[in-house]
């Protein structure tokens, strides 16, 4: 009879631990952050209570606590909260939060695309060309594939070479189908596979500050990118 007990116990254990993966990955402690009630320093927050250096008012605990990943605080709106895994064109596996600390200019493309993507890539290059050299090291231009089945790291690497986007500042990402769908939803990018080799998708270039918060979106193809460049320069430290 002992056998049965053992077997049952094993099964119960197995089922109990069969829970959701992402829960384990995104474990993080919560902390209180403090902010000047008048927001004298904009969105700046402190980890300890005290008074505002500008207006001397007592700092107030920010109502919603923010999650802490192991390497410092990120806000609730940050895309670094996404825990999906991505492959770069150099076949490195990363999470988005590994890009933390740099301004991110992101766009969604697929490499077999003949219509809008080359122009989107060109738009990205035009933006990149307007960034002074001393800032470029603090910016990553990220092209995320909406076609993870076809766009393998090798394909992405070839695309990067072909389009003269193989410098350090360019990152190409292949995700999982669900990871890509989730990411597109964060960006409000809409896309649909309309045939095995063709996708329809929105043409949006998004700018994230070094904390991963969305600060600007440029919609459309070949549009004036002045504001986009301004925003990038604004949020990027030299």
């Amino acid at each position: 009879m002992n056998y049965i007990k053992y077997i049952l116990l094993t099964f119960i254990t197995v089922f109990t631990f069969q829970s959701c993966n992402s829960e384990k990955k995104s474990k993080g402690d919560t902390v209180e952050v403090y902010q000047c009630p008048m927001q004298c320093e904009g969105e700046k927050t402190y980890t300890e209570p005290g008074s505002c250096p500008v207006c001397n008012m007592d700092l107030k605990a920010v109502e919603k606590t923010s999650k802490v990943e192991n390497d410092g605080a990120i806000s609730e709106e940050s895309i670094f909260n996404l825990t999906s895994l991505w492959h770069t064109q150099n076949d490195k596996t990363i999470q988005l939060k590994d890009l933390k600390g740099k301004t991110l200019v992101m766009v969604m493309i697929y490499t077999s695309c003949k219509a809008a993507c080359p122009r989107l890539a060109a738009d990205m290059r035009h933006i990149e060309a307007q960034i002074p050299d001393e800032k470029i090291k603090n910016i990553q231009f990220v092209l995320v594939s909406i076609d993870p089945k076809v766009d393998t790291p090798e394909k992405l690497k070839a695309f990067a070479k072909e389009n003269a986007m193989d410098g350090e500042q360019w990152t190409f990402l292949q995700g999982t189908e669900s990871g890509v769908r989730e990411f597109a939803n964060v960006l409000s990018v809409k896309y649909k596979e309309i045939s095995p080799i063709d996708f329809s998708h929105s043409n949006i270039i998004s700018v994230f500050n070094p904390q991963g918060e969305l600060v600007h979106q440029q919609e459309g193809l070949g549009v004036n990118n002045e504001t986009t460049v301004h925003t990038i320069l604004d949020v990027t430290k030299t």
Partner: protein, 259 residues
């Protein structure tokens, strides 16, 4: 005796999945090719066999979920994944307001929350094509879209106010055995953000204006299916972190039956 019991148990465990190919609370839906309102360029889409929750996820189901996964509690959920109205019909992290019924469909949930709920059960959200496929059935026919009664009935449900406060399973099930695809709440789909192709839905692009303007219907495959039209329009207007009073969800999974 010991070994006998052991063998029996092993045999039982091995055979169990074969005996109950259908998962608990889910019904099997046999895939096929059909023409949805908006499809791929060939207009015919193919849906593989899948299993679908017979009922929408209820308030009670969701209470159990947040008990187990605190990150989705009302006070814990982060802004990236849900807007301010997330679970706004709840009294606190673990309790519904007294006016809410446990077996009403859960609403005020975002796409991110719905997606994770399904993934935590080893399931996923249905694609638009799968959902529409299951939903074009009525009580007796797999594709009831040509029947005037089918559309009239759905539209009369759409007109009924506050249907989200009703409880699940009060309408007859469709021919697959699925309840409440129509008549209670709208439901999240995995690729809800895919239909209004080019451009962000608030702006530009011919495809959008075609969908929303009067002449639009020419683009759709079936002028009669006004109800489906409304669903596609609603999906196009959603963002993944929105949570709404009349938007819930149910889960599906790929059929594991091997032929």
């Amino acid at each position: 005796m010991k070994t006998h019991a052991f063998k029996l148990l092993v045999a039982f465990l091995v055979l169990q999945p074969l005996l109950f190919a259908q998962s608990k609370g889910m019904v099997s839906i046999k895939g096929s090719r059909y023409i949805p309102l908006y499809g791929r360029d060939s207009t015919v889409v193919e849906v593989s066999d899948f299993e679908m929750d017979a009922y929408p996820v209820t308030n009670k189901d969701y209470v159990d979920f947040v008990k187990k996964y605190p990150k989705w509690r009302k006070s814990k959920v982060i802004k990236l994944f849900a807007d301010n109205s997330y679970l706004s019909n709840w009294k606190n992290d673990l309790e519904l307001k007294d006016s809410e019924k446990p077996n009403s469909p859960v609403t005020y949930v975002s796409w991110f929350a719905a997606k994770e709920y399904c993934e935590c059960q080893g399931k996923r959200l249905p694609t638009v094509d799968e959902w529409e496929y299951a939903a074009m059935a009525d009580e007796t026919t797999k594709d009831a879209r040509i029947k005037p009664s089918y559309n009239a009935q759905i539209l009369s449900w759409y007109e009924a106010p506050r249907s989200n406060e009703n409880t699940i399973g009060n309408h007859p099930k469709n021919v697959w055995g699925v309840y409440d695809l129509h008549g209670l709440v709208w439901e999240w789909t995995q690729d809800f953000n895919s239909v209004l192709i080019t451009g962000e839905s608030r702006k530009d692009s011919d495809k959008d204006s075609k969908l929303f303007c009067g002449s639009a219907s020419l683009n759709a495959t079936n002028l009669m299916n006004y109800a489906a039209f409304m669903r596609y329009a609603i999906r196009g207007s959603l963002k993944a972190k929105y949570s709404m009073k009349n938007l819930g969800f149910r889960c599906v999974k790929d059929s594991k039956l091997v032929k």
